[in-house]
Symmetry: C2
């Protein structure tokens, strides 16, 4: 029997799973932040090794291969670094690196060809052909792109609230929802502006820009309550995601995997994609499962829907 490890190294947690060539998961491990860009190479590598060792655990099995999946497309330097770090703790193995769009895609389907649309804090679309990343659209960050993302929606939300407060935009229930979250901030004793405008400014500029994404759920809530401004923001976000995705989708059959917090089942954005691509939208699962399927593919063994089902069935009890 041959064995591999799949690792999903994220900004806050790193999860690793050891599996056999049939897709049966036999060990699982977890560690802290594993993204070299945000956590630094040393800490991220240390956490990747820690998670891998925990996945090997008591079995003591030497994995033939480690598939490390990481945010962004700049992670290729990490393969030799991780390989050396594993070697230093007595694990001699081949390390491969792939983007987290790949682990998200293969968490939902074993089809080697298809598409991914992700809308979380950021937004990106990807095309996968024969198991390889073949195209990316957007994912360009909060200033240059991320059209239809949580940040994109949250930015529109706070701007709509500012415009409402200053009577230069339509009245919206978003104002009450946002102000409930930015209260108790001090404001200048006297000024020609409404104090609420100062409260909003202090909050928005007192946090990192991307944290505007935290206001996106308020758009979903207000839209569900019938607010026209919130509905327009979400309609525009759906249009932006569909436009990004449409620049990649080149067939009528392969799956379209929906990933990220804004594309959960039942969200207006998710519904818009399902209407556009009927019968082929799948919801992404745990990225660790996708990393595991990528490990099987890298081992060169069969990695079909049966394998993916087995991964999901045997991974769930390990996570507990």
């Amino acid at each position: 029997m041959r064995y591999g490890i799949g690792i999903d190294a994220g900004g806050t947690a790193t999860r690793a799973v050891m599996l056999d060539e049939m897709g049966t998961c036999i060990g699982y491990g977890r560690a802290g932040a594993g993204n070299p860009t945000s956590a630094g190479t040393e800490l991220a590598t240390s956490n990747q090794v820690k998670a891998a060792r925990a996945a090997i655990g008591a079995s003591g099995i030497a994995p033939e291969l480690v598939m490390l999946t990481l945010a962004g497309g700049l992670g290729n330097d990490q393969a030799p670094i991780m390989s050396k770090a594993l070697s230093a703790v007595g694990i001699e193995t081949d390390v491969r690196v792939a983007g987290d769009v790949m682990s998200a895609y293969f968490s939902a389907t074993a089809d080697p060809t298809g598409y991914l649309v992700l809308s979380g804090t950021g937004a990106i679309s990807a095309q996968i052909v024969d198991g390889e990343l073949a195209g990316l659209t957007d994912g360009l960050g909060w200033l240059l792109g991320d059209e239809g993302s949580g940040f994109w929606i949250g930015r529109r939300v706070v701007r709509a609230v500012a415009a409402d407060l200053e009577s230069r935009g339509p009245s919206t229930s978003l104002t009450g929802l946002v102000l409930a979250e930015v209260r108790n901030e001090s404001s200048p004793d006297e000024d020609v502006r409404r104090p609420e405008v100062w409260h909003l400014m202090r909050r928005v500029y007192g946090q990192r820009p991307v944290e505007c994404a935290n206001f996106a759920p308020l758009a979903l809530r207000a839209a569900a309550g019938g607010d026209a401004v919130a509905r327009q923001i979400l309609d525009d976000a759906a249009t932006a995601l569909l436009t990004s995705c449409a620049s990649l989708v080149a067939d009528d059959e392969h799956p379209v995997v929906l990933a990220g917090g804004l594309l959960h089942d039942g969200s207006p954005l998710s519904n818009a994609l399902k209407t556009r691509y009927p019968g082929r939208c799948l919801r992404a699962h745990d990225g660790t499962a996708g990393a595991a399927l990528l490990a099987l593919r890298a081992l060169g063994v069969t990695a079909d829907s049966g394998s993916l089902n087995r991964i999901h069935e045997t991974l769930a009890p390990l996570i507990g």
Copy 2:
């Protein structure tokens, strides 16, 4: 004869002018950054004092009053600080503080009631009633507002270029203009993205967000050449400025002063405002002249259009 000093304390330079109650400027001084928020209180105050002492110069006249104009509305703490700093160098005088929207407004008109629309890096509209600031709209910064500003336009420019490069937006001549400014940046050896997309990302995220305003002039250039994308961006910017302004303008007679680099004579944004407010748009001049007029008003002496003309006529030769 009574004397006052007007100071325009900006982010890069501080200019001070000594004038008599008739509006005749008799001394001028210049120093470095004078904005406490960006330069720090100590350096800003030191430069404000330096400019004021230079304006007093060889005349040795003690000003009855110093009118200090500063960006933003948070400068009220600066009056006692500046008063103490002047006292420490033997200048006992009354210090008043006003926002730079006031100095911009009174650089163009002595009418104590009217409006200001500014579009530079940021954008703000103001209402002035009986010489006092009576209303502000926008000026909320690049993330929350600044609708129709240089940043707002520049952000739209780089996003339009990204969309063009990724074939998810219309083709635009902005792409060539922007790429000419971001060339020679390195890109990963192999990637599924076009290298130009990397070049753009490195530039945009390698600078402070507000520096996107530097791309705004390219929109003016492309629009002048007939580019539809650039024209749409400028049309939207004009609409945003008109919307902000319209939330304050409450009469059909008082002046509308146009300030900031995007509202120079002949710009499409300036033309849109002149069409909306025919016969009453005035272009702002040097903020030092406005600070001088505010000093006259604070002295309680006549500050009419004759005074403003005298300020402009006698200030110009001093600046040289």
